[in-house]
Amino acid sequence: MKIEYINPFLNAVDNAMETMIGVSPVRDKPYIKDSRTTTGDITGVIGFAEKRISGSVALSFPTKTILKIYELMMGAPVDEINNEVDDIVGELTNIVVGGAKKEFSELGLPFNISLPLVVSGTNHVIKHKHDNPVMVIPYSVEGNKFIMEISLMVK
């Protein structure tokens, strides 16, 4: 996976977090995913496709992290994952993939994006668009971890 195709997603995560919660996420070393399940308790997934580019991106959060993000975004705490927390996961995924879409469009690779799908539960499986290796980017916000998974094919 070329780095120029990863950067739009990295930039979009930074921009989403800085604008929506006022915190710059700290990024750790990326790795290749080696299992079908994810590390988070709740995950938003969006697929995208066009002639030359297709793939899917997932944002996956442990409960503690997403409750913190909810509080920072909405200005009020919540005790557990509920419909509104699901909603925020979907919308954050939407904002990240939408932000990346703008940069890809400037690279001459426009694409259309799906509506977000939100999945939760311990060790849930995330279905990506392609069977090729999925890149995982680990992050933390104020010490709370989350990950982004990227599955991408560019022709």
């Binding site: 921009n15 989403a16 604008t19 929506m20 975004m73 909405m74 419909n83 509104e84 909603d87 925020i88 979907g90 919308e91 939407n94 904002i95 993939v97 939408g98 932000g99 879409k101 703008k102 469009s105 400037e106 426009p110 994006i113 509506l115």
Partner: protein
């Protein structure tokens, strides 16, 4: 001024509505997609709408409003993750008056709202 906020994300609607309220707007109705939006247009003087939504997306909703003699000139602001130039141009071509790209901060949103209603 009565405002309609259309977005399939309930939390995003809340963020937008709270921003509007902090700026003195107090007559606000909300809808989760374009179909609900069309059903709640009574008395509305300003529309803020998302683009990517189920049932009826924001661009289709805007086209429907522009077709109607009652709402042909109503100010519409699109608030969306769709920030690519081709999308912005398409939305403006179909009658969107102003455009806010998500993620946005409150100041940007309110300055676009004020510019649109003074417009």
């Amino acid at each position: 001024m009565k405002v309609l906020v259309v977005d399939d994300s309930v939390t995003m609607r809340r963020i937008i509505i709270n921003s509007l309220k902090s700026s003195g707007f107090d007559d606000i109705v909300e809808a989760g997609d374009g179909v609900e939006g069309l059903a709640n247009m009574d008395g509305v003087e300003l529309v803020l709408t998302d683009w990517n939504m189920p049932n009826m997306d924001g661009l289709t909703f805007v086209k429907e409003l522009r077709k109607s003699p009652v709402y042909a000139d109503i100010p519409i602001i699109m608030i969306t993750t769709e920030g690519a130039k081709t999308e912005v141009v398409e939305a403006l071509k179909h009658g969107v008056n102003n455009y806010v790209v998500k993620p946005f901060d409150k100041e940007t949103l309110l300055s676009k709202v004020n510019a649109t209603i003074k417009g």
